[in-house]
Structures are given as C-alpha cells and as structure tokens.
Amino acid sequence: MSMPSIETLLVVVVLAPLVGAVLNGLFSRFLKHSTVSLLGVGAPVVAFAAALLAVIQWLPLRASLPDASVTVMLFKWIEAGPIVIDASLYLDPLSAVMILVVTGIGSLIHLYSVGYMHDDSSYARYFSHLNLFTFSMLLLVLGRSLLLLFVGWEGVGLCSYLLIGFWFTDMDKAIAGKKAFIVNRIGDFGFLLALFFLLFHLNGTLDVPSLRQAVADPTSVFNTDTAMVTLVTLLLFVGATGKSAQIPLYVWLPDAMAGPTPVSALIHAATMVTAGVYMIARLNFLFVLAPVSMAVIASVGAVTAIFAASIGLVQNDIKKVLAYSTVSQLGYMILGVGVGAFGAGVFHLMTHAFFKACLFLGAGSVIHAMAGEQDIRKMGGLAKKMPFTRWTFLISTMAIAGVPFLSGFFSKDEILFKTLTYHHVSGVVPEWLSVVWFALALGAALMTAMYMFRLYFLTFSGEQRDHHAHPHESPATMTIPLVVLAIGAALAGYLGLPDPSLNVWEHLLAPVFGAAEESILATGSHALELGLMGVSTVVALTGIGLAWWLYRGAGQQVPARIAASMSGLHRLLSNKYYVDEIYDTLVIRPLKAYAHFLWKWIDVGLIDGIMVNGPARLLSAVGGAGRRLATGDVQGYAAALVVGLAVIVFLFL
C-alpha cells in the first residue's frame, strides 16, 4: 500500500477531529457510551497518526522545498477586488512541530479523559467540544493565511469558553467561562485591528509566506514605515496577551481552572495558551522590524513570569498553583520571543507542553483520588498510594523547576542566555534593561522551583492530613498518558542541546527563524551559555532546598511566622495583588455604570421612548384620525373626489 501524499494527510489531520466533533455533537443520543469514547479518542489519534506520517514524509524532502514548506490549497475563500484569501494549509518546520504537539499530547489527554470523565452525564458533549477544540487548534497552526489562523484563534477561544463552563449549572463555573471569553475578546480585538492595518495600510496581504517575501524586500513599506509596523506588532501582541495570559489580560486563566482538569491540561497549559507565542514566532520576520515592540513584549513577559510565580507561592488550590505556574511559564516564552529567541521560545513551549500537561493530569489524578478535594493543605502522604501519579508528577516537577538534564532545564536556560545577550544586538535595548529582564527571569526560576516543590511535598510527602477521602491509584487510561508525558518531560530537552552541532531543534527550525535570529543573535559566547547553566542549576537547587526546609524539614514553622510577620505582603500575594479587584473598580464598574446609563437613559429613554415610540405614537394618532375619513360611504367618496379636484384647481389655476 503506497503512502498517502502529504497533502492528503494534512487534510486528514484537520478534518478527523472535526468529524469526531460533529458525530459526537449531533448524534450522541444514538451512540453508545463506548462508541462515543471510540470516536472521541479515535479522532485525535487518527490526526496524530496522519500528522506523524506527513512529517515523516516531509522531513527528508524539506531541503528541496521552498522555505521547507508544503501548501495545501483547499479552496478560494474570499475574493473581493484586490483582496484574495485562500483557505490553505501550510506545513513548515514550525507548524510540523505544533501539529505533533497538539495531536500527540491531545491524544493522550483525550485518552485520559475517558477515565476522568467516565461518569459524567454529558460525556458526548465533552468529547465533541474537545474534538472541536483540537480541530480549531490545528486550523490555527496550519492556516497559511492570518485570517485562517484567526478563525482557529476564535475557534479555540469558543471551545475554551464552552469547556471552562462545561458544568454550567454551577454559577461560578459559568461565570469563569464568561470571564475567559470576554477577556479574550479584548485581545482578539487587538488582533483583528492588526489584521486590518496589515490589509489596508501595509501591503494588503494576510498570506504569511507572501508577507515574509514582502518584508524581505528592503524597499517595501514594511522597512520604511516603522511606526506602522510597530503599531501592528503591538496590536498583535495585545492579541497574544489575551490568548497567552500575559499582563494585563492574564486574569482569566486562573479562573479557567473551573473546567474539567483534562481541559486545563490540554487547553490551558499545553496548547491554546501557547497560541500567542506561536503567532509571534510565526510572524517573527515582522516583529524583528519593530525593536520597540520587541522590548515591550520582552518586558511584559519578564514581569508576568515573576509576578505570577510570586502569586503561585501562596496558593493552596492544587490547580490554582499550576495555573499561576502556567502564566509564569508563558511569561518565559513571551520573554524568549521578545528577545528574538524564537526557536528557544517555541522550544520552551514544546517542553512545557509535556511537563505541564503531565502535572495537570497528575493533579487531576490526585483530585480524582481525593474525591474532588483540591486543597493541598488537606492532602499529603499520597506517594505510597498513588505510585504512578507520584513518580510522573515528581519528574515533571523537576523538569519545570529546571533540574539539570530534564527538558525544562535546557529550554529555560536557552531563554535566559539569549535574554542576557540581547542588548548586544538590539539598538534599542540598553544593557541594564536586559540585565533586569534576566534578573526577573532568574527570580521567577527560583520561585518556580520553590512553589512547585512546595506543591509536591504538601501533596505527596508526609502523612495524609485529611482522612475523609480514600485515595487510590487511577485506572490505566489515566496512568498511561501520565507515563508517556513524563517520559517526554524528561527527554524532550535533548532535541535542543546547547552545543550547536547537537542542536537538532535549531537546525530544524532554521528555515522559519534563521533569518530573523541571525539578524539579532550575532553574539554570545558558548562559555557564557555553559556558565549560565551553572547559575540556573544553583538557582533551581536553592529553590528546591528552600521548599524542602520549609515544608518537609526543620523550617516547617517558618512559613506561618513569615506570614505573620509580613502579613501585609502575605495578604497581597494571597489576594493575587488585588488585580481582579482593581479591574473591577477601574474598568468593570465604570463600564457597567456607563452601560447602565446607555441602557436606561439613552436606549430606553431617548431612543425607545422619544425617537422610536414617539414618532410611532404620533403616526398612529394621525393614522387613527385619518381612518375616520374612510367611512365606506360612497356618496362621501364621490364628494371627496370632487373636493379634491376643486382643491387642485384652486391651488394650481
């Protein structure tokens, strides 16, 4: 049997989850529980197999392909005068990595969901939404045109909303879904504006390869109108702050933990939230033309990283800790792409997908075992009862903390290195700024190691502190994904070893980022990179040691004492810097008041009351009066004819 072509396979990759979503969404009442599982899990698995086959065929070919890319033209989508937009898929090194991550990790999480959601009454709806999400995400990463990317972007936003509010009968969860959707809309608005500017003020195309070609021409408007490019890239970044949960729009992500835990793992850790990073990486050639935007991006990323990590230190809900950790790690990625280390940013995206998905699924396994309990203060001693969950969780925790030779170590390290050296090549960024970024990132790394091990120790070590639940290891459908992900978390880093000759990752992605990275990363010694590895190892181990001392060792009274002596700071962190409250006061309430004013006074009063109903009442009154003239009396009508004639004669003659 000959192998299907890359083009066919790519179409299968995108359509398989859609078919699954449609079947489970529309015909669930005719399907048995097992059929729903088969369809729901089968769809991403088929997509993964197709993606794998496509990439395997593409790998040896890529040297001979333009930009190492394959395009599948599906159909002509929009044709309006000079604007022509195709619906076509685009496989290049970046999207190849992304589809493998999305379908691979997605398949594992779907499989895990079979066990996790087993007893849910809306089982088919769950899989339908999850498949629809996978479809949208694949559209996002495979779309050749930015508009198609935007369709996927909106699609994942919708699915995120649907799945956060999956248990919508619980008001809090429904509100969390709404919050995620609305906050994302703010970002999407920026994105959409950027598309309009691109289309109407720059060169009028949304096709990514064409854009890259246009940018490559030194006389093009992109290279002359830096102000416009800066505006566009900043607006795109607004979109990224929404989707990738950066300051100031990160507030939805912690609340998004209201959704089922596998959803948190897939959407709010491994895939959707990285869409902003992906988009910036995809448009790297555009962003490097706007150093000011890059500096803004890097600053936001660095601040978000340490800001979210500090909140994570004091959270007690197992999923909330992971949520802030995700925000913090996304800050890392954004920092990475902000200093032009696109390959490193996407590399961290990939390794993070493994270990964070594993952590979330592990958390889900714990919650499952604890009969829904999420407070880590009530856990403890789970290590013996849940060996698979414990070991996989530990590996992933070490990976995210930056323990040497696990995946997070390599990817985080590369971002740190490139942050420190960025000032050499950027004409805009002074040395002190890149040092500040570096310091913030290092601080975030320290905190990450601390709060992750605090989480680990409180959950798995010692004795069980609350005896209501009877923990037990989860079924195989849940533990198998954990094991696979943990292996990935441990080993994925070896794709990007710091030695140039061994760095498969950089070599693979060179066609996408090569030009942009060369223009930025001209310097930086190998020795410095290895030196920094030492520094970050020390930082990671310090964080772990502190966590040990505070939560396992002699210092167990210390956290309470610190909380008491610095109660202000503790309260500030526990309340997440009061950001929700500040937004409520500064944005939401004024908006609500304004909306209330528009509604009560402008709409009901002025528009409905005076402008709409006023004329309507007037006209009805006039009509009612006129109706009395139509008496039905034929003599009267004839008289009216004559009177009419008489009036005309009188008026006109």
Binding site: G623, A630, Y637, A640, L641, I648, L653
Partner: protein, 549 residues
C-alpha cells in the same frame, strides 16, 4: 395583413376572452378551473408575440386609421408584459379560489381577458378616443369582476363603489379630453403636442391647463393616489382576492403607463410656461400626500387586504415621485424622458403585490373572506410554504434586499436624486422616511404570520396546484429581480425612453407629413418642424418655470 400581425397581441387576448366564453358554455358545473389554464395560455401567446413584435424599434403600421391611434413600441411592450404577467398570475390564483368561494362561473376568465385587452389598448393608444376606449374596456370588466362573488354583499358593494366612483373619474377624463379637443381641434396626442407647440397663442391656456388637471385627476384615481384613493381599501377588501391582485398589479401598471405618457408628452406645451400652474408641481403634491397618507393609514389597519391597499396607495406615491422627476439624461431629440426605473418598479411591485394577495387567495375555505391579521397568525408554522411566499412578497413590498422591491425602490430613488441632486433631496428623504414607516405594517404581517399563535379557529389553506405555480413564479421573480436585475433594468430603460411621444416618432407614421428629425444640438430643444425651435424646459425644475432658455 402585416398590420393585423403587428397588433396580434391585442387580438390574441381578445380572442382568448371569447374562447373562454364559448368553452364556459361547454364545460360542466364545477369544472371551470381549466379555463384558467386556457387564459394563461392565451396570455402567454400574447406575451411572446408582444416580445417578438414590439420590443424592438417602433412598429410602422400601414393603415392610417391604425397608425393614427396607436403606437407599438417598447413602452407598450414592457407594460403589456407586466399586465399579461399579472393577469396570468391572477388567472392561476383564481382557478381554485373561485370555486372554493362559491363563484363557479367561467366569466371571470373572460372578463380578465377583456380587461387585459383594454389595458393593452390603453397603453399603446396615442389618440384620446382610443385611450378612453381602452380605459373603459379595462375598467368595465373590472367593475364586474369586483362584484364577482354574488353571494357576498361586500363583493357587490365593492363592485358598485368601484363602478360609481370610476364613472366619476371617467367623466373627469372625458371632460379633460373635451377641453383638449376644444383647445386644439385634434385627438392625436402628438398632433396636440405639436399644435400646442406651434400655435402657443391658438390654444386657450385655461382650457389646456384645465384639461391637464382633469386628466391627471382621472389617472390619479386609477393609480389610487391620495386624495382620490378612497375607493381603494373598500374595493380591494371586497373584491375576490385574485381580482384584487390583478387590480393592484396590472391596473396600476397600465394606469401609470398612460399617466406618464399623457403628462410628459403634453407638459412641454407652452400653455404651461410662464403661468403659475405646473403639471410637475401637481404630480409632486400628489406623490407627497400619497406617500404620507398611504403609509400612515396603513399602520392602523387590522385587515391584511386593507393593509395591502394602503401599501398600494403608498407605492403610487413613490411612483408619482418617479414620474415627476424626469430623467436628467436626455435622448437624442432633446426631450426629457421618463425616469428609467419607473417601468421596472411597476414590474417589481406587480410581482410582489400579486404574490401577497396570492397567498391570501389561497387561504380560507368555503366562502371565508375575513383576512384580518389575527386570522393569519401562525401561518408560517401551519403552512410554511405559503408563509415563506408571503414573507418574500411582503418584504419585497417593504423594499428589503435581496428582493425585487428593494432594487426597484433603490433605483427609483437614485434616479430621482440624479435628476436634481440638491433640489430633490428633501423629497427622497421623505420617501425613505415613509418607507421606514411602511416597514411597520409590513413587518406586522410577518410578525403575525410567524410569531403569533392563532386565536380561535385558524385560517386553513386550500390546496391549489395552479395557485402554487403562481406563487412559485412570484417568489422566483421577486428574488430574481432583486439579485440579477440587469436585463430587466435594460428593458425598463428602453420602455421609459419610448414613453414620451416625440415628433420624431410621429414622423414614422404612415401618411403623416414628414417631420424634420435632424438631430438638434444636445439638449438644445425639440424640433417639431423645420426651422421652429421649441425650447425645452426642465419638466420638474422650479427654476425652469416661466423661463424660456
């Protein structure tokens, strides 16, 4: 022989009427529905003949007695097609409606054929007597049709009212014609126009102006313009619904065709220049009050047929505005032509209004004739196909895209604006505002049909294959006219350019003295006779009044 061929569409419709009468005698009781198909076939043949014979250059009739009284050109062609279409649709709607309502006779179809014959004669007439003949043939048949449901006092009332008031209007028309004849001694419109042009001092201006008023008033009655509209709601309501559909669709088109031809041909006469009276102002005045009154009174109606009657009055208003604002572009003769989109508007209106009345015609079993809004409640759910047909028709009447009514209104208003962008703006704004007011009652029909639950016994549809065909045609045409109107707009332009009778066309009449048709400098004036230059006055421009330029 060739003359007979040239006027064959008229002969075919007349013959259809006679054939139907004969077949009616042969057909048994309760088996008259096939007569509807016979009528449709006759109209179809007439329509094809009219297309083949009349749609090109004006036909040259050989015999003076024919050539003097009628002109077979694109004007006659386009409007004949509209009338034939509306007539055929009405015949189809009648096929099952009439028996259900206890009207068994086949005479409806014969009368319909005669009425159509009269309408066509009316539209091709260039002679006052022929014109009057056509009008009366059309109207007399209609009076009888309106009273066709003999068991119903409403129907009888409608017939009598229409007849009495129509008689008054005919009297006005005749009086106007008498004035014209008295002033000029001529009956042919072109002769009259020429006489008025060449002998400005020969004709008493008072007679000519009085004639114009009487003619306009008589035609305003026929098109149901305010304040000569009083008959409309009562007659529309009382007459059998297919007859109402024909009245609204066909009679309005025929009456407008004649109104436009009469007024625009004569309005260039010097008798109106330098005086206070302007036919244009008269038309504008009628247009404004029709739009306002039609739409305002439509709001307070509760019977669907009456709502559609007021809608018909309002549409007469928009159309009068179109006739008033003559085309700014000028034909080679230098004469202002009828607004391009008026014929198209009449076509779109005919399709939509026949569609709306058609749905009503297919509602109500055995003699039910109450068509109040509450009775059609829930129609969309119980009879979705009829509901959709009603929806399309009503929204087209309201002028919403993508339907024919929208294209018609849009083009009409656009052309009115183009004629004089600054001066006509207030009237276009008024027309648009009034269209919005009209939306209220159109949407009320939709509201009841789709979003209200019926109270009491809901109205039940009759099953009618012929009626379904008719409705399918109206829906398809309403959509087609809205989406791909280009061909129809072209035809409409041809028709409108032929509407105003000019000297050059008169020259082609056999036996008439050759008239100089040398092209004058663009827009300089009309030449009716060698050496005599008649200044052209912009028909609807206020500045133009009293100025010879």
């Amino acid at each position: 022989m060739s003359d007979l061929l040239s006027i064959s569409p008229l002969l075919v419709t007349a013959f259809t009427g006679m054939l139907v009468m004969a077949l009616d005698l042969l057909a048994g009781q309760g088996r008259k529905a096939f007569l509807s198909w016979v009528t449709v076939a006759g109209f179809a043949v007439a329509g094809i003949l009219a297309y083949v014979l009349w749609s090109g250059d004006p036909v040259v009739l050989q015999r003076p007695f024919l050539a003097n009284v009628m002109l077979l050109d694109a004007h006659g062609w386009f409007f004949s097609e509209v009338v034939l279409l509306a007539g055929a649709l009405a015949a189809l709607l009648a096929a099952d409606h009439m028996p259900e309502q206890g009207i068994d006779g086949g005479e409806t179809y014969a009368l319909l054929s005669f009425s159509v014959t009269g309408a066509i004669l009316l539209m091709v007439a260039t002679d006052l007597v022929t014109l009057f003949l056509g009008l009366e043939i059309m109207s007399l048949a209609l009076y009888v049709m309106a009273a066709g449901k003999r068991s119903s006092p409403f129907s009888a009332e409608a017939g009598i009212k229409y007849f009495l008031l129509g008689g008054v209007a005919s009297a006005f028309l005749l009086m106007g014609m008498a004035f014209l004849y008295g002033a000029t001694g001529k009956l042919n419109l072109v002769d009259i126009a020429r006489f008025l042009a060449n002998h400005p001092e020969g004709a008493d201006p008072l007679l000519v102006q009085g004639a114009m008023i009487l003619l306009v008033v008589a035609m305003a009655f026929k098109v149901a313009a305010v304040p000569f509209h009083f008959w409309t709601p009562d007659v529309y309501e009382g007459a059998p619904t297919p007859v109402t559909a024909f009245m609204a669709g066909a009679v309005k088109a025929a009456a407008f065709a004649v109104l436009a031809r009469l007024v625009l041909t004569l309005a260039r006469a010097p008798a109106f220049q330098g005086t206070a009276f302007s036919p244009a102002d008269l038309l504008l005045g009628l247009a404004v009050v029709s739009m306002v009154v039609g739409n305002l009174l439509g709001i307070v109606q509760t019977n669907v047929k009456r709502i559609l009657a007021y809608s018909s009055i309002a549409h007469a208003g928009y159309l009068l505005l179109g006739v008033w604002a003559t085309q700014a572009s000028v034909s080679e003769t230098g004469v202002q032509t009828l607004n391009d989109s008026v014929p198209f508007y009449l076509l779109a209106y005919a399709v939509s209004t026949v569609g709306a009345f058609g749905v009503l015609a297919l509602l109500g079993r055995s003699g039910e004739e109450d068509m109040s809004l509450s009775r059609i409640a829930g129609l969309g759910r119980r009879h979705p196909v009829l509901g959709v047909a009603l929806l399309v028709a009503v929204l087209s009447l309201a002028g919403l895209p993508p339907l024919g009514g929208f294209m018609a209104k849009f083009n009409l208003f656009r052309q009115v604006l183009a004629a004089d962008p600054a001066g006509n703006l207030p009237w276009v704004i008024l027309a648009v505002v009034m269209s919005v007011v009209g939306l209220y009652y159109y949407l009320r029909i939709v509201l009841y049909a789709f979003f209200r639950e019926p109270e009491g016994q809901p109205v039940v549809a009759i099953s009618s294959a012929a009626g379904s065909v008719a409705l399918a045609v109206t829906v398809a045409l309403a959509l087609f006219l809205g989406i791909a109107p280009a061909k129809f707009l072209d035809a409409s332009r041809m028709a409108s350019q032929a509407t105003v009778l000019t000297g050059s066309i008169a020259a082609s009449r056999a036996g008439a003295a050759p008239v100089q048709t040398a092209t004058p400098p663009a827009a300089a004036g009309i030449q009716l006779k060698p050496g005599v230059q008649i200044p052209v006055r912009t028909f609807n421009s206020k500045e133009g009044r009293g100025n010879l330029h």
